[in-house]
Amino acid sequence: MQTLPFDTVLIANRGEIAARIIKTLRKLGLRSAIVYHDADADTPAVSMADTAIAIDGCSPIAAYLDAHQIIASACRAKAGALHPGYGFLSESAEFARAVERAGIAFVGPSSESIELMGDKIRARRFVQRSGFPVAPSAVEEDDPETFPSRARALGLPLLVKPSAGGGGKGMRIVRNLDTLDDAIAHARREGLRYFDDGRLYVERYAENPRHIEVQVLGDSFGNLIHLFERECSVQRRFQKIIEETPSPALSPKLRKEVCEIAVGIARSANYRNAGTVEFIFDGREFYFLEMNTRVQVEHPVTEMVTGIDLVAEQLHIAAGRPLRLSQSDIVSKGHAIEARIYAEAPERDYVPTTGKILMLEYPQREGVRIDSGIVQGQQITTAFDPMLAKVVVHSSTRRDAALASERVMRELVLLGCETNIDFLARLFADETFLSGQIHTGYLDENPHVAAGQCASDLPAVLAAAALLTRPVRDSADAVPTLHAEIGKWRN
């Protein structure tokens, strides 16, 4: 690899993605610098980084959203580039501009692209104008007066969404027009709360659609390629749990079609660096959903099947170099599935859980990649997103990859905090999932996956618990042998 014009990269992120970026930096011989809030002081990313700079804020999240402190830290660390990861400031055009103004290369697209795609309504309009399909929709700000009637005219079911945002926040499905007003009020409240933006739009909701997205890479010279699709249909509360590639729903023809649409959209937007174009797929057509202008959580599945290090490519592009790959270099081999391990209780409606990681043992196997941001002894709090780690399994077929994933879930030991690991194991063994008949409503339609099962090894579990609990053992040891041998006897 040619030498890059910077030798230090600041990571403006935390957790597993920070650790994952550091791994690539090391591979490329670059120095890593990281900013961290005190709550993350003991996390692997902070100990892995060559330089770690503490930042603070009124909450841990606020610290990672403080552009001023982060850019100052990047200058202090003499970083020539800044990788924003995902979330936090990764999709802030203002931040990208400020980074560039400070003379630091922003590892991502131009601030214009971020601005264009960051606003969902603007992005939809742009895509529509460029001649690509979007779902029928009504946008409030077009004419607030007629918004409710336009929304109704779309026909049921509807999906109400805040214009800003993502991560499923504020989204509401409407199946009965009587509840439309409530859904609008709710979406507005959530939009204001999370994104300080009360603008809304409503689109026709495809029942049980699939979520298909395409990974693209572009350089500053107008070269654009795709790295095939990912399917992320297994979701709960509009948030992805399982991501895989290739999608079991696509024929080669459909795959070609969606990848070409994605490249077309990116090309129209003059897109640079790594991005993801998301679609809703109803079995026949792809409707543009949004474009994410950053590295995605689920990027490792693409890396596993293509053998390409996306972060390395991002850095290469950010250094102003042309793409090193042409479309024909990109070959997808086998099947990769990613499962997100969350600190949450699927049995109790996926409520987030907390705890301290008392034991953490990842199985080491061929074809298994685990991107983890946690370490034994770490306290899991509700301060951040509850995602703890990602398990990515690469195998020759989808079924093999799923069954291998199930095995990893059964072997993985994470004690001290309730997680969705057992749920993931059940999911990977579920026949419907294995058949590939998945869609965004899959978990709602198959509540047995989340419901858990009664303990099959109850006597063994209780025996272990009893033997490991001092008062239980003590009370047993206290009983005189003679009386223990007689047992429960009454005269």
């Binding site: 301290k356 008392l358 034991m359 006597p459 063994a460 579990v461 272990a464 490991l468 008062p471 042998t481």
Partner: protein, 167 residues
């Protein structure tokens, strides 16, 4: 009095008794014997139950016990009978809001028959020149207000009694 563990939403009662080889585990009417646990490395060991030998990973955090057995994770909580039983009955005693110190009633904020939720303000009282709020220890229907404005009361006096009706 047996030992009790909470697992998910269930409580399980059990008793361990010494046997000739290891222990005996009593669950309801079933007995599993012998049972034994041998510690290996930190946090791992081997459970023997009847004729089964099962590797176990475990972590203990206070009354919480995390077990990884046969590919599944179980989170159990040891329910200390002393504490559980005391708490159970705390709830029963919560049907009465009592005075934490002697004082005088300044104002009552509820009337007989009112449905209140836990934490609701019931009374303003004055004690040692300080005003403080008497709150509902839990939700219920106000059955009786024992003191009127201006009345003085002793420490531990019942101030307001609730019934559980309508809950």
């Amino acid at each position: 009095m047996k030992h009790s563990f909470a697992l998910d939403v269930e409580n399980y009662e059990l008793w361990l008794s010494p046997g000739q080889h290891g222990y005996r585990l009593h669950l309801d009417d079933e007995v599993f014997a012998p049972v034994s646990f041998s510690h290996e490395l930190d946090g791992s060991g081997t459970l023997v139950i009847a004729s089964d030998t099962i590797p176990v990973k475990f972590a203990i955090d206070g009354d919480r016990l995390y077990l990884h057995i046969r590919g599944r994770t179980y989170i159990l909580r040891y329910r200390d009978q002393l504490r559980t039983l005391a708490c159970l009955d705390d709830q029963a005693s919560h049907l009465v809001a009592r005075a934490p110190m002697p004082g005088v009633v300044i104002a009552t904020k509820v009337s007989r028959g009112d449905v209140v939720s836990g934490g609701a303000t019931l009374m303003l009282v004055e004690s040692m020149k300080l005003e403080f709020v008497v709150r509902a220890p839990r939700g219920g229907v106000v059955e009786r207000i024992h003191f009127g404005v201006g009345d003085s009361f002793e420490r531990d006096s019942a101030l307001v009694t609730f019934s559980e009706e309508g809950r």
